[in-house]
């Protein structure tokens, strides 16, 4: 259920950030990559790869290009990132920032390789790659901050402090 909600939210965000009234740099963001990155925290590499494949298919469909290249790139990148996360035991804010940056970098690299191997012209150059990686990192950082705030809000310590203040 949470995964489905996250995917829907990411699809909506994907469409929204590409609107003409949004700051142009945010147009490079791939919110579905954040969903794939979230899957790398607990899933084994193969299952994270399947989740990435689904997210990549959605990216392909939403971008209006040929179906497949982004799906393959996200699947491979998610599997690699899941293996790295499990190996390094990344958790907390470091997980979010590192996994999103790594996933975005791998995704862009693999996508470039796949598209060029198919004999097609990539949709963006180095500046676009950097923008995608940077916005993914910012997204990861934002999620990390939000997660930290959520934990603080629901922490028993905060409840005890509030209860003491009421007395």
């Amino acid at each position: 259920m949470t995964l489905a909600l996250a995917v829907v939210a990411a699809v909506v965000a994907h469409l929204m950030v590409r609107s003409a009234s949004i700051w142009w740099l945010l147009g490079a963001m791939q919110p579905l990559l954040l969903v794939a990155a979230a899957g790398t925290r607990r899933l084994p590499p193969a299952r994270a790869g399947w989740l990435g494949l689904g997210c990549g298919l959605l990216i392909d469909a939403l971008n209006g290009g040929p179906i497949g290249p982004a799906a393959i790139a996200v699947a491979a990148a998610a599997a690699i990132v899941a293996a790295v996360v499990a190996r390094l035991e990344l958790t907390g804010p470091l997980f979010w920032v590192a996994s999103t940056l790594l996933l975005a970098a791998l995704f862009e690299t693999l996508l470039l390789a796949i598209v060029m191997s198919l004999g097609a012209t990539p949709s963006h150059a180095l500046l676009g790659v950097l923008a995608a990686v940077a916005t993914a990192g910012v997204g990861g950082l934002a999620i990390a901050v939000g997660e930290r705030l959520w934990h603080w809000w629901r922490s028993p310590e905060r409840r005890r402090r509030r209860a003491l203040r009421r007395r």
Partner: protein, 268 residues
């Protein structure tokens, strides 16, 4: 029935390979697929909604900016109004002083010369019975100079400073003046205090209410013929009986006075 069990990693690789081939097939037909057209159609409402939100946010931001500018203008206008109100009050005071000065000059006897107009800057008409005026020795004010208002005699200069002078009001307990009730040639003594009185009228004299009392100049301070006070309706019982009177000038309402030169010494 035989089942094919494939490890997730291998199946993922097969799926990727299949997608690669599908992508290659799609790239061979660059005119685009119906899927891309459908996605573009579905995405249009999201784009419009985002654009509407952006427009609303921009309008809100503009509104906030306008509101802030309006608040600044309002504060400036309020400050200007306060300043104008203050200036208006000062001008009103100036106009009042000028009108009183005009009345005062018009009321002065034609024989009076070298008059110094002064503003009353402070007064204690109840306790000390004095007033402070903004003219002093530098302006030619001397001790015992008579002080007039438009309605009559205010008092005399008691002390003189360089820039200010202190006036003893007629209501002061130690104030006194030689006086004459209008219609009578007898000289009486007007004395101040909270209840100013005159003494020296013969017994049986009947005074009407509001009869003017003028200076005679016998005490050597006030020139003759200046209005001092008004009588009350009373019958004099004896020549020593103090008869209450009403001073012509209420010191609390005086803002401008005329300081006359004192009469030459030796004059009766």
């Amino acid at each position: 029935m035989a089942t094919l069990r494939v490890r997730p990693g291998v199946s993922l690789a097969f799926a990727c390979l299949a997608l690669y081939l599908a992508a290659a097939a799609q790239i061979r037909h660059p005119q685009g697929s119906s899927l891309s057209v459908a996605v573009a159609s579905l995405a249009r409402p999201a784009y419009r909604a985002t654009e509407a939100m952006g427009t609303a946010l921009a309008a809100l931001r503009e509104g906030w900016r306008d509101a802030a500018a309006t608040r600044v203008q309002l504060r400036q206008a309020q400050a200007e109004i306060e300043e104008l109100r203050r200036v208006n009050q000062l001008l009103a005071v100036e106009v009042t002083v000028l009108r009183e000065s005009d009345r005062l000059i018009a009321s002065l006897p034609p024989t009076v010369d070298r008059v110094v107009l002064a503003r009353v800057v402070a007064r204690d008409a109840v306790g000390e019975h004095v007033a402070i005026i903004d003219r002093g020795r530098r302006h030619g004010i001397v001790r015992d100079a008579p002080v007039l208002a438009a309605a009559g005699v205010v008092g005399r200069v008691e002390r003189v400073g360089e820039e200010v002078a202190r006036v003893q009001l007629l209501s002061h307990p130690q104030a006194a003046a030689a006086a004459r009730v209008n219609g009578s040639e007898l000289e009486v003594l007007l004395t101040g205090g909270h209840w100013p009185t005159i003494t020296g009228l013969p017994a049986g004299t009947v005074l009407a209410d509001g009869t003017p009392i003028f200076t005679t100049g016998a005490e050597g301070i006030y020139p003759p013929g200046l209005l001092l006070a008004f009588t009350r309706a009373v019958t004099v019982e004896s020549v020593l009986t103090p008869i209450p009177i009403q001073l012509a000038v209420r010191a609390v309402g005086v803002t401008v006075v005329a300081v006359l030169p004192p009469p030459p010494r030796g004059r009766p």
